[in-house]
Subunit: 407 residues, 2 copies
């Protein structure tokens, strides 16, 4: 398994583009296209929010019913959520336009939107954007890079990764890009994440691999506890790597899953660390929990706590807040038994054990918490299960961004 | 039912005091005493957090096992949580000191603490504080007022209320005080809330009345989603009103419950509106839900959402965030069916209906959201059940307060 240069265009046969279509902001890119020269098996996971955006409903239909997919068109600025029948009609219009320009069936076109909820898309500018995207797309690393920038909203950095590995003597590549900074508390999937691969793998196994992979990647991050209406993770596989098609679980499937997990975990952490207003990636590692599910719930409870997040921002060794968040998670444990550590590049330090604070140095603890990546490590001493969750600190800028997001 | 002057000393036979004991801060009151001249029946509800503070464990024991209670001593500044055996020993020492000074049994003394988690109480200063409290207590309205100020931490205003009503031709009075501003997301009870009454009512019915009352009062508020380790609500009844003792459910019990609901709802709203850094009380009213529980869950999901809270702070009619928070609450509904309104003293306005935004005036909507008390009203159109939840906006000051709380 090797990390290589690039993102969604790293795998064979994938092309991409990004353009400024003037959806909501002036002078910034806001539309992206991913295209595969060959038909792809596609897997997807979507928001569990009852209020689902139109593109989520559209994509679910494609993933479940279309024989294959071949393109994804995404806009930033407007989420096309809470937009009724017109919102669905606009998804269809996008697909029609892509279909006509690229010569692929309408039901092979996936769509995605992110931005303000409740506004209708400016469909004329969207369709003009699609024409530009179709004209500009190519398979270069740079094109994937441009696409990953074009889907950003309040993100401060673009997020992409590619990895490759060997199967049957063939090189298989997996690349991905995502965006997400606010309204990030994915449940069964993430904000917008697009993964491409040239692996040959059956549609059923592709969906299995994706569904398994999100549990310990996207579903373990939280920026603000708000599960979006638009969360979407799509995985397209076009088979161009030339490996023997993976049609059953086994060594090849496991290798593919390992690569997918690496990509998804990388992208999920990137989103958490780039949470709106964040100055630090805030990781919580639970070890020796009684069950895997307990470990996940405990880890997510800590990274989701406003008070823990504010303590990280203040570099404040206010460990009681971490214990408090473990305590209200719903998981049963004995607070007299657990041990809590702070850890970062600056060191590792035991803070709490046997029901009381140990005699630690406040100065040293503050130094550990001042790094851009900070870990709270909790040993539950109840079993052998582990989980990791990622979030970010709560800052003035989070409030600033969200108190005047639309203006 | 009439609201009258005063707080915990409004009911007959109750005395109080507040003093500056130097627990954590200089030159501010930080210890309070409530004392009844007669033994009281006592009811209590406590945090559901697995990590329970020592005073919570102490009080649970008293409420469940003691024949009566007669005093409550409370300190602010240090929470006596995550303090192990020493924390419990200190509760006992407090009770011993009160017992000796006031001539009541040790197991008639309730204790309460609020503040930083993980530090031990300065027990010498606590005991010196108790001596002062015992010397100064009296039954004046002013004394109750002083006590309600002495339990404040990051609160900006003290919170108290008293109501009276007639039973068997006798005037029955119910008074209460509470504190709470951060780490407020009560679950089966509240931060610290103390209610006193001269009603004659059996211990069982007193607990029933309290347990019912908290569901739609304290349990419907949230400041930051963090359920504290110290949440405690105590209700003391000394019987001095002279009414026939309430020993079964019926008209007299209902009247008492109505008064209790008024007191608890008032105090809960006060806490929400005085949430750390808050500039507005943020109310969500759900009407015509399918079940009562659905209505409660929906209302709490909205007031608990960071993005909704930030929108209230920004006076931003970003209604999609409210729909999003309803959508991820876990309650099943049809987003195409519901109607959403903004309401405040400045007016009431329909914003969203039939799956899309109505054509509302942004300027008018911003004006409605600029009031110090703002309501989001959602008509689910599914049944007849209603619930109301209270929170506050998310502001720079919330971050400021919590990024340097301990320093």
């Amino acid at each position: 398994m090797e990390q290589i240069q690039g993102g969604v265009t790293a795998a064979k046969g994938f092309e991409a583009a990004g353009v400024a279509a003037g959806i909501k902001y002036k002078d910034r890119m806001d539309m992206a296209l991913i295209y595969s020269t060959e038909p792809c098996n596609v897997a997807g996971t979507f928001t569990t929010n009852i209020v689902k955006a139109a593109p989520v409903l559209w994509d679910k239909e494609i993933v479940e019913k279309s024989p294959f997919a071949q393109a994804v068109v995404v806009n930033a600025g407007i989420a096309n959520a809470c937009t009724g029948k017109q919102g669905m009609d606009y998804c269809h219009e996008e697909a029609k336009t892509v279909s006509k320009l690229l010569g692929i069936p309408e039901n092979a076109v996936l769509v995605g939107s992110t931005g303000v909820i409740g506004m209708q898309l400016p469909i004329d500018r969207i369709c003009a954007g699609i024409e530009e995207l179709a004209a500009q797309k190519d398979g270069s690393i740079e094109a994937g890079h441009t696409a990953s920038k074009a889907i950003m909203t309040t993100d401060t950095v673009n997020k992409e990764i590619a990895v490759s590995f060997e199967l049957d003597g063939k090189t298989v590549t997996l690349g991905g890009m995502c965006k997400g900074s606010g309204m990030i508390h994915p449940n069964m999937c993430t904000m917008l994440s697009y993964i491409t691969t040239d692996a040959a793998i059956s549609k059923n196994l592709l969906q299995d691999a994706l569904s398994e992979s999100i549990v310990d990647s996207y579903n373990m991050i939280s920026v603000d506890g708000d599960t979006s209406t638009n969360d979407t993770c799509l995985l397209l596989a076009n088979g161009l790597a030339g490996n023997t098609e993976i049609v059953q679980k086994g060594e090849a499937y496991d290798k593919f899953c390992e690569a997918l997990q690496m990509v998804n975990t990388y992208l999920a952490k990137k989103m958490a660390g780039d949470g709106e207003g964040a100055t630090a990636l805030f990781e919580t590692v639970i070890v020796n929990a009684a069950t895997k599910q307990d470990a996940r719930i405990l880890a997510k409870s800590v990274v989701g706590s406003s008070l823990c997040k504010a303590a990280i921002y203040g570099h404040d060794a206010n460990f009681g807040r971490f214990l408090c968040a473990l305590g209200y998670s719903g998981v049963v444990f004995n607070p007299e038994k657990i041990a809590l550590f702070f850890e970062s590049k600056a060191g590792k330090m035991l803070i709490y054990e046997d029901g009381v604070a140990v005699n630690y140095s406040e100065e040293e603890a503050a130094k550990i918490l001042s790094e851009p990546e900070v870990t709270i490590l909790v040993d539950m001493k109840m079993g052998t299960e582990t989980a990791t969750a990622w979030g970010c600190d709560l800052t003035y800028d989070y409030v600033k961004i969200n108190a005047d997001y639309r203006s």
